[in-house]
Symmetry: C2
Subunit: 480 residues, 2 copies
């Protein structure tokens, strides 16, 4: 449906031939998949909202293999879709037409871990949750965490500049990623895989690849700084009677919890209803219009509990919060987190999901949900809001029995115009991928987009890397 | 001396003519300086180690004026040296030949400050210390702090990706800078001045300008995330009997102080001797081979003091530390910090200073100082080491009565080869500027440097912006 809607046409790349397949089978014996059944799952995204028709999946194990694959594709003008855990939400991780899928699934080796500095170096295909387990054994944690952790690859996380649940405390990947190894479109290997906290020798090239969604190069290895594992973690799950109270609770807890605050998430009552109904989870607090999840991470459990209790007492006494529960043991902490983390999954049970991932000034965050609900009325099944309030990041989701042009027309460009009026971002953390790339102008001025296209043309002159993604197609924009 | 040593030749830019001067005097009435006395201080760096011979200093007040200046220079092929507070240590902030100096001194307005989010938007010429005072009044602090704070401009800080004293806690500018406005070489204005914590719409262009030392564009405005002002700050100043104990003290305090640790600095006994001699400061602890400064910042003074006291007890009991003092009041905290912050200043009293700013694996940090001291023997007056140990960042300084080729030959490339063998960085935070640019290959592979040169050629095709800086000159490298 997207192809039609945005009138996307296949660019004049070469078609995959028998000789090409033979080359790849020789290069990657047993790791060049062509059987339709094997290829199929790689063609469809996690949301089942976009589907390509690639006929070849390549599974290299080494950087040298990735380099040989790309050198060949570059010479033959074959388009390539780099794919990590395929958990992206904007159609960036699957082919649009017949692009060759380059999967990092077998590039899953840890290269090194330094216990003094906490610096991990690993291949791009390592699964985030496996890495977290690995460094946890040595007293550290990964600086990022997100709902898809069980499947997403660290290379994909970096390629999309994933945000997630720990950004409030440990900052973005732009600070924690110390080095990258990247294979460029022509197969040359760019080695920026250093493990230094500070390095001001020339331009920081790796930054350009962070968040470029596989359109400028294929990330093959990552060096990342892991924070120490906190000795004490507490989670509070609270009910609030209005969004204004959610906001006031945030400023109060930021002031009172200070350096131990590691997450401030919110969800509305509709979200709770859906996780209860579809996932059989039960709410630990009395029904409320809004719920807040607060996490603290610190080095001294009695200090942290004292801070948290002081805050909770004040929040209850002043009526900011009407009900709440606190967890200090791992099991209950996981249970509380799953209420928030599994909203995405619960939504998929409702039919088709229109997903929006918006950055806004925190005070206006929920106004967009209210306005959208009023606008759509009965034509949508659900309009829900949740997200990383501490980062000013709203996940706005709209569900309906099935996809319809008319509902989409009612949502877009309204949602983007609304966001642009508040100087927000139309994609806080999901990226633009295939589904959002035509809307970049709502968040970036024309001069910036033209410059991006110049970078793309410089680094990938034939445009073979993840085509049809991230940047708007050429006609409207003049370049390429 | 550097011109000679590195055989630097003036590139064929146009020479400044009377008509050019007349144009600038019309554009910036009273703010185009040509009198030799007025221009002179802008031609010499803070260390008095490099000197240009510019005949014109321009002081725009607005982005539009910067744009007009650059458009004119681009058309006429006139080279430009952007200059902030002129506190750089690698000769990046002054002209090499007759480049026009574009000073941000009059671009010193705060544009906005949001008390809820702590996001500051200001012009590039704001002095760091003034900004810190401004946000402190509203309960926040700047995310960076450095010895030069009284003169350095925030635009220069961003252009050089300054590190400094708070990086350990608040991370690098790559995470805290949320947006930039940049004027490109041809005078066009790139507006990436957003104030969002998360924005994944296309490539993050601003990152390329952070740390590019004015060679890719002139930063005219900055949007930056300020952390909350900590309610409690403590500083401990300690004496250690060996560098091994300095390291062990670090791992112990990182584990015990956790999230409240905001600085871990070290200096050797020679540094202490120099600040005592030249600045009449006195050491607060018994003479020791090494000194450590530890700062904590937190939201609860009794919790923080308890953590710090527990750590100090353990450090004293186990013999890691042999003497120490703690400060909780502002005045004493400032006094302790000045011992560390004013080492640079004390060194300048010793004659000529050869400065090196190295990133190394923390365990090897002081080996370089020992090796250098052994190598130079009597030919150097002092060989001292200090720096941001928590970030793996050593400041190695060598002094002599005056500059000599032979001493420099004994130091370089030895120091760079030593660093490269440990996969370190030859410039952790100072940048490459004019003095270090020929050594980039010790920290970056050739492919990366070639790519940097392509970026430079794309963004500044005539090479008018801060020429002779950051990237090695063309002949050896083939490109441009």
């Amino acid at each position: 449906v997207y192809l039609e809607r945005y009138a996307v046409r296949r660019l004049p790349f070469a078609r995959l031939g028998e000789r090409d397949v033979a080359f790849f089978e020789r290069l990657l014996p047993g790791r060049a998949l062509t059987a339709q059944e094997e290829v199929k799952p790689f063609n469809v995204d996690w949301l089942k909202s976009v589907r390509g028709c690639s006929q070849l999946v390549l599974k290299p194990q080494t950087t040298a293999e990735v380099s040989q694959v790309l050198r060949y594709c570059y010479e033959k003008n074959l388009a390539v879709n780099p794919q990590g855990g395929n958990t992206g939400l904007v159609g960036g991780s699957v082919p649009v037409f017949d692009e060759i899928i380059l999967s990092t699934a077998l590039m899953n080796q840890v290269i090194s871990f330094d216990k003094v500095s906490g610096i991990l170096v690993c291949q791009a295909g390592c699964v985030l949750e496996r890495l977290n387990e690995y460094v946890e054994e040595q007293g550290f944690i990964m600086p990022l965490d997100l709902g898809a952790k069980g499947s997403c690859h660290i290379g994909g996380n970096v390629a999309t500049n994933a945000g997630g649940l720990r950004l409030l405390r440990y900052g973005s990947l732009r600070g924690t990623v110390l080095g990258l190894e990247v294979v460029l479109a022509d197969g040359s290997v760019l080695d920026c895989l250093t493990s230094l906290r500070k390095d001001n020798t020339g331009y920081d090239l790796k930054q350009l690849f962070i968040g470029s969604e596989g359109t400028l190069g294929v990330i093959t290895a990552v060096s990342i700084l892991c924070p120490q594992k906190p000795k004490a973690v507490n989670v509070a799950f609270l009910g609030c009677q209005s969004f204004a109270k959610v906001l006031e609770t945030f400023t109060t807890c930021r002031a009172m919890l200070g350096e131990i605050l590691s997450a401030y998430e919110f969800m509305d009552e509709k979200c709770m209803e859906l996780v209860e109904r579809h996932l059989k989870l039960s709410s630990p607090v009395a029904d409320s219009p809004f719920y807040v999840l607060i996490e603290t991470s610190g080095s001294n459990s009695s200090h942290d509990e004292e801070k948290l209790n002081n805050f909770l007492e004040q929040a209850m006494a002043s009526g900011l919060v009407t009900d709440g529960t606190v967890a200090t043991d791992d099991k209950k902490i996981k249970r509380l987190w799953s209420l928030r983390e599994r909203i995405t999954e619960a939504l998929t049970h409702e039919g088709y999901v229109y997903k929006y991932d918006i950055s806004l000034p925190v005070g206006k965050l929920y106004d967009l949900v209210d306005d959208m609900r009023a606008r759509l009325g009965q034509s949508a099944k659900n309009v829900v809001g949740y997200g990383h309030l501490g980062d000013g990041n709203l996940h706005l989701n709209i569900t309906a029995e099935s996809y319809s042009h008319s509902l989409l027309d009612a949502i877009e460009p309204f949602v983007y115009e609304w966001t642009a009026r508040c100087s927000g971002s139309i994609s806080a953390e999901h990226g633009l991928g295939f589904k959002k790339k035509q809307f970049i102008q709502y968040s970036k001025p024309r001069g910036a987009v033209v410059l991006m296209q110049q970078f793309k043309a410089m680094l990938d002159p034939k445009g073979i890397l993840n085509p049809y993604k991230t940047l708007p197609s050429a006609p409207e924009w003049g370049l390429c």
